[in-house]
């Protein structure tokens, strides 16, 4: 009895404290909202938003609802995160491998990069790129074309837009190629297990992924043309580019700084992962007659990835959360559009901040659940 009480009392006290704190907060919130004449509710989401957003992936203007404004912000956040993650991964892997290079100059260069960008606050980097570096770009009328089609100007980057015909056939061909590759891989593994023969899977896959889409161009009726941005004069001194795709400078500054910053952390993860594979593993693999490529593919990479992937996913998550710094340079992401403009207009602080937080929360919790599942799957089964 005594022991049981000992177990229950601390828990009861903790729960009581938590309940009291929350109760206190909700009680106050109720009184405050009554005093200010605000009513609680999520009905505002369907109201007309009557504000504009500069850059949006879906059709949006002031006549749409607040919910659609939320979607615009969310999509913009996802866009920045995805582009940032792609570049950060490419750069991070290169730098991480470079840090292990036997070449003194290369690994010092990589180390310098990591130490430099990791120790400067991300917000400062974003400001630097946006307010200092990108402001030094030429005006649209003075911009030189890069490769004849890209225009990097102070008003953003203008790239040619793709104009597809029968895009779905092209996509089907890619899907077909991927399915074929998977089938061939399974088949190749079966052959290797039963007959010990190895098929050149890599070359077959490469061929398939190129040839099938190419065929869709030749006989599937798919065609692709580019719309190249053209300079257009609005007034005597005001020029813009028309046609093509325009990426606003906010997006460029944001993805650039996010990628450069996060790449340093990914590089460290990659380095730790590759270093984490024991030397004995490589030597053992070499001694049973695997060639260097096979050593890398069959022995080192599977073990290194086990170490690399969990912290790297964490970095992806950090990048997504850090993309909320977009609000500082007025890139219309979730925080700016919803927790900024929409909050100012409706005054529904509790509802809007809670929705914003829940969005990020559900994003990160779902990824950590996925991560835990993955970790369990790849964990070394110890005896």
């Amino acid at each position: 009895m005594d022991l049981k009480l000992q177990k229950i009392i601390p828990q009861l006290i903790t729960v009581l404290v938590v309940v009291l704190v929350f109760g206190f907060f909700t009680y106050n919130a109720q009184i405050n909202m009554e005093n200010r004449g605000i009513d609680f509710g999520y009905g505002f989401l369907s109201q007309e938003s009557s504000f504009d957003v500069q850059f949006s992936l879906i059709e949006y203007d002031g006549s749409h609802s607040y919910f659609r404004a939320y979607l615009v912000g969310l999509l913009n956040t996802i866009l920045v995160s995805v582009i940032g993650i792609i570049f950060a991964t490419i750069l991070g892997v290169i730098v991480g491998v470079a840090r292990l290079s036997p070449n003194y100059l290369i690994n010092q260069f990589a180390a310098f990069y990591v130490e430099f960008f990791r120790n400067i606050p991300l917000l400062l980097q974003i400001f630097f790129w946006y307010f200092a570096a990108l402001r030094a770009l030429p005006l649209p009328q003075d911009a030189d074309a890069m490769l004849g089609v890209f225009f990097l100007t102070i008003k953003g980057l203008y790239v040619p837009a793709f104009i597809w015909e029968n895009l779905n056939v092209f996509l089907y061909s890619i899907i077909a190629a991927i399915i074929a590759i998977v089938v061939i891989r399974i088949h190749a593994r079966k052959i290797q297990e039963t007959q010990g023969k190895q098929l050149p899977v890599f070359w077959i896959s490469l061929g398939l992924i190129f040839i099938l889409p190419l065929l869709s161009f030749l006989i599937g009726g798919v065609s692709l043309s580019f719309e190249i941005p053209q300079l257009k004069q609005l007034a005597t001194t005001s020029f813009i580019y028309e046609g093509g795709l325009s990426l606003p400078p906010e997006l460029i500054a944001l993805t650039l700084s996010l990628a450069l910053y996060t790449a340093t952390f990914i590089a460290e993860c990659v380095r730790a992962g590759i270093q984490g594979v024991g030397k004995g593993q490589k030597e053992a693999a070499a001694s049973i007659g695997l060639n260097p490529n096979q050593v890398l593919k069959l022995v080192v990479m599977p073990q290194a990835l086990r170490i690399i992937i969990p912290p790297t996913t964490n970095q992806y998550l950090n990048l997504t959360k850090n993309s909320s710094l977009a609000a500082a340079i007025a890139y219309p992401d979730l925080v700016l559009v919803f927790a900024g403009t929409a909050l100012m207009q409706t005054g529904k602080a509790i509802e809007i901040v809670s929705i914003t937080m829940l969005t990020y929360l559900s994003l990160s919790i779902s990824i950590s659940i996925l991560m835990n599942w993955y970790n369990k799957k790849i964990a070394i089964k110890e005896k």
Binding site: N32, N103, A339
Partner: protein, 480 residues
Amino acid sequence: MSKINFLKPDKDNLTTFLYIGSFLFVTSIIDVFLNSFFSLNITGFLPSSLSFIIPIILGFIGLYFIRIEHSGYKFLDQVNKNINTNNFNAILSLLIIFIIIKATPPILSWFVVDASFAGDSKDVCSGTGACWTYIKVWFRRFMYGMYPNAEQWRINLSFIALALLGSVGYFATEKYKKYLTLYYVIIYPFIAFLFIFFFISGGPIFFDFSYGIIAAVISIIIGFFIPSKFKFYYFIFVPITLYIVLKYFVFYEELIELGKLDGLNWVETGAWGGLSLTFIISFFCLIFCFPIGMAFALGRRSDFPLIRYISIGFIEFWRGVPLITVLFMSAVMFPMFLPADFFIDKLVRCIIAISLFEAAYVAEVIRGGLQALPRGQYEAAKSLGMGYWRMHIFVILPQALKLVIPGIANTFLALVKDTPLIFVVGLLEIVGMLNLAKTNPKWLGFAMEGYVFAAIIFWIICYAMSKYSYNLEQKYKTER
């Protein structure tokens, strides 16, 4: 030596290869060097594209020639081993060397040669270089924000005093070493709090409170030397007496009224800013987030399910949201949760928000350390008859914290790097001040200088912290 074997050096033509190779390599470097430092193009007679890539070709051939294994020259072997192991590495090395040589002159000229240091107006900055005059003129604003110039000695004095008090640990003799933890965990934060809120903030409204805290601190310190028999009565009577004595007999207010003592002007927290605010916020968040994080780390590993779930909920909630939304919450949502007449200062709200946020990360790091300890440690401690708290304070936490020094250091680094985000609630530390200064009509167009300046400062702070944590890690590394 009738013919030169161009494919493979051997014993006979080794030195020839060496001379040709070194000559080509050095030529290529000299070419790039002259080109970038003196804008002198010694291969100018060639077509421009050829002239552009000729250093790489020459250098590559040179490096190829001097790639001799076990040449017998120590220096050459070092070079070959480090930058010249194969063709691919040779090209990369050459590219890096050339980039460094190419990049040096513009960077040097921007930073030093063409930069302007003198004067105190925008007019002196007309060159192509950096305008450090801008930093010089705005220096006080970048360091102290809108804090009045005449009162800035208070910040300096507080920081110096806190730094001195913080270094007590290095000078403490063996006899007082056991009190150090207590000192750093309780007394030092208290003193820091006093300094920040009574000295930097100033004003008369804090006097009563300050007396209370001074009385408490003094009586706790003296309390150590009181025999345990009288401790109970001591702690009942002495602090209150001390407080009354301070309040009614020290006459601080009276002295101010009589004009014998200048009171400190009250500087509201909205005027604080610049680098000093970065320090203040990082300092307090660092102090607060550590114990909170530790509590939740222990809570997450607790045997009591309810406490465990509450801890998990707390940790996952703060880790799942970006700091900027947390600050938004502290700015617009938190006041709604408090009674209408209850006002918490913006800075304090900010510090609470950041502390809670970072505490969740600290908790996860410490949990990692707790999990890494072998079960035997827990069992051994229990078998000695230690209770939960005794076991954790004397056996588990010292070992676990030692293990997670790098992780904690990373979290603290992240904290320092996150401080600029307080612009959300309208507080302007150094980055915020930069953004303010660059919109000043008298000083338009110097954003670059400002950001570079702040970047250098942050880089030094963060790099020093990471090196210090590395040293700590090495110092406390125990063979396991």
